[in-house]
Symmetry: C2
Subunit: 366 residues, 2 copies
């Protein structure tokens, strides 16, 4: 058990932008909400999964929809309280704690804001260990946990409770309501007991995020090694490519931001060609036509100088980036995990091979 | 208090197709469901509004979506029970009775099926006195009654509870879910107490519907007067036009069936031209360019021989129809009523004038 204040929020947000793997939304706006809530209501207590009683009722908090909409439309002052009351009323029990469902991107921040405003502790875990675009893409789905009852509310005061036959149906119906509410809503889903949370969540991911953020912030202060070496060491990242963005192609299917970024090699990658495709998050990285990493491993583009992660929204011509692969949470590498978030689910015609195996023998420097 | 059996269902369904004013869906498929339920579970007890205690909890039942989808997709055996359990759980109280929200079209039948299957009495009232296309278009909205909490379920087993800030928002969000569920769902909305039901519902509309159906069935058996005279007498209808359908133009905006039917005068209307526009229901009838009736008055097209109502779905070239205007429920003629369902809401550039005033002095026979 420890406290999360403003410096911790800054670091968690920076780490979360790396775990977002290009997606999940820039945590900036969420960071402002978390800081605002902590300034108003005091620091948040972070507890480890092991500290939670098996029978405790856990209410995860997330935003659903387009993070870019969130920047325009915001979250009012009443959403968390309304969700909290809906959940307590539905279950007829007290909520013990909240937790993030998605450690990557803006959803790393909103549970902090909710915890501060509701006076609840937040658990150091999530259901992804990264960011993913659809709500059934969580470790809890692997564990057979239902996303519903799911409570959803918008900033105007409309609220909805879903009970669905599968988590894909939750995604379908909640997505439709989210669009009708203007593109972004606040919700609680996968409400569960402490025992389930302990069994299936990605433990200690908030702390991991904070450590990553702190390390990025201090990447140039190390006494030995180059900043790049330091970055790869603390992020446990596999270096995939280094290049200058030569083109960005974007499309949308109404629900997701789809696209493809072209990279012209620089430094030791000069003369080679890199490509990263994305659907909100980065999905597949290849060099000279050879796939080096796919979802569910994390494919992260970071600035070659500052090592600050670049979200897919922020990709632009001329930017120099290091492409890094991070191992995903082991549960995603199981058959059930790959069925949910493997490359084929996203339309990539390739079997999943762990990033560290794909680059064995140094495919990086070509 | 009286019983509703198969003959009553037949008559109510026929009357409901007149009160549908062209829309609300052909009650045929609903009739089969009501008859099936009564055969399996026994006759339904119909009670008058006055028999209901002020504090009783009333659970109206309706389908939302496209009646034509209902023909393909049906309603399974479990929807009414699920809605019932959702409502009782939400309110923490026993449901006393059900009622129709819409006396016109297919929604006249589903509450009978629900009442039979749940062993509940049905109240002899509704919230429209006809059919309308959107869920906020009920007398209860005039009375300031909230449509929510609204319970919705599909035939697959997905269910949703809405709480919205206005009845327009209920329409917006429930419509989105209905579309995602495949275009038709079962729901309960405007759950209310007996006192509210008595204050704002259209009383005795089920009995009125049954009487209309019985009269249509017997229209040729009268001992005096022509069948047309008899039809106009018992329906209290204003004769607007008699013609042969010369053209039907249909469009859709994804949510509604829109269109326009052209009529070439026959009999005493020969040489004149009639036109009826519709959005699910008939909205406006004019002869030689002069408006003779608009919503919220009921504009009904009936077969000139059998006097069986023709729904907008059933309009086709060559069919001979009598166009009749029926006075709407008086509450619709108030300023608040006209704001909800007056001609301007439906995009008709005309003030509302009651049908009986528009045809004063015999505009009918031109």
């Amino acid at each position: 058990m420890r406290k999360i204040g403003i410096q911790q929020i800054e670091d968690i947000a920076l780490g979360a932008s790396l775990l977002g793997a290009g997606g999940g939304g820039d945590p900036y706006i969420g960071k402002l909400m978390a800081i605002g809530a902590v300034r108003e209501c005091g620091e948040v207590t972070l507890i480890s999964p092991e500290e939670v009683p098996d029978s405790a009722l856990i209410m995860p908090i997330a935003m659903m929809g387009a993070p870019t909409v969130l920047c325009e439309k915001g979250i009012g002052g009443t959403e968390y309280k309304r969700i909290f009351e809906m959940v307590e009323r539905y279950f007829g029990r007290k909520v013990y704690a909240t937790m993030p469902m998605e450690a990557g991107g803006v959803n790393s921040m909103l549970p902090i804001a909710a915890a501060a405003r509701l006076g609840l502790p937040m658990i150091d875990c999530d259901g992804m260990g990264r960011a993913f675009p659809e709500l059934q893409m969580v470790t809890f789905t692997i564990g057979g946990v239902s996303a519903t009852p799911m409570a959803l509310t918008d900033e105007k005061g409309n609220s909805v409770i879903f009970e669905t036959i599968t988590n894909h149906w939750t995604e379908e119906l909640a997505r439709a309501v989210t669009m009708s509410c203007g593109g972004s809503v606040t919700c609680s889903l996968y409400v569960m007991d402490g025992k389930t949370m302990k069994a299936y969540s990605v433990h200690d991911i908030v702390t991991r995020s904070e450590q990553l953020g702190k390390a990025i912030r201090n990447v140039k202060n190390a006494t030995s090694g180059t900043p790049e070496e330091n970055f790869l060491a603390f992020s446990e990242g596999v270096r995939l490519f280094k290049g200058k963005i030569s083109d960005v192609l974007r499309t949308t299917d109404g629900k997701f931001n789809l696209g493809r970024v072209q990279l012209e090699g620089i430094g030791d990658c000069k003369g080679h060609h890199g490509e990263v495709t994305f659907q909100n998050e980065n999905l597949c990285a290849s060099v000279d036509g050879k796939i080096l990493a796919t979802a569910p491993d994390l494919i992260c583009l970071v600035d070659t100088e500052t090592f600050i992660p670049v979200t897919t929204d922020g990709l632009k011509y001329g930017k120099r980036v290091l492409v890094v692969g991070l191992k995903c949470y082991p549960m995603w590498r199981t058959p059930r995990g790959l069925e949910l978030v493997g490359p084929r689910y996203f339309g990539i015609d390739a079997d999943y091979i762990p990033v560290e195996e794909r680059v064995k023998g140094g495919a990086v420097n070509v």
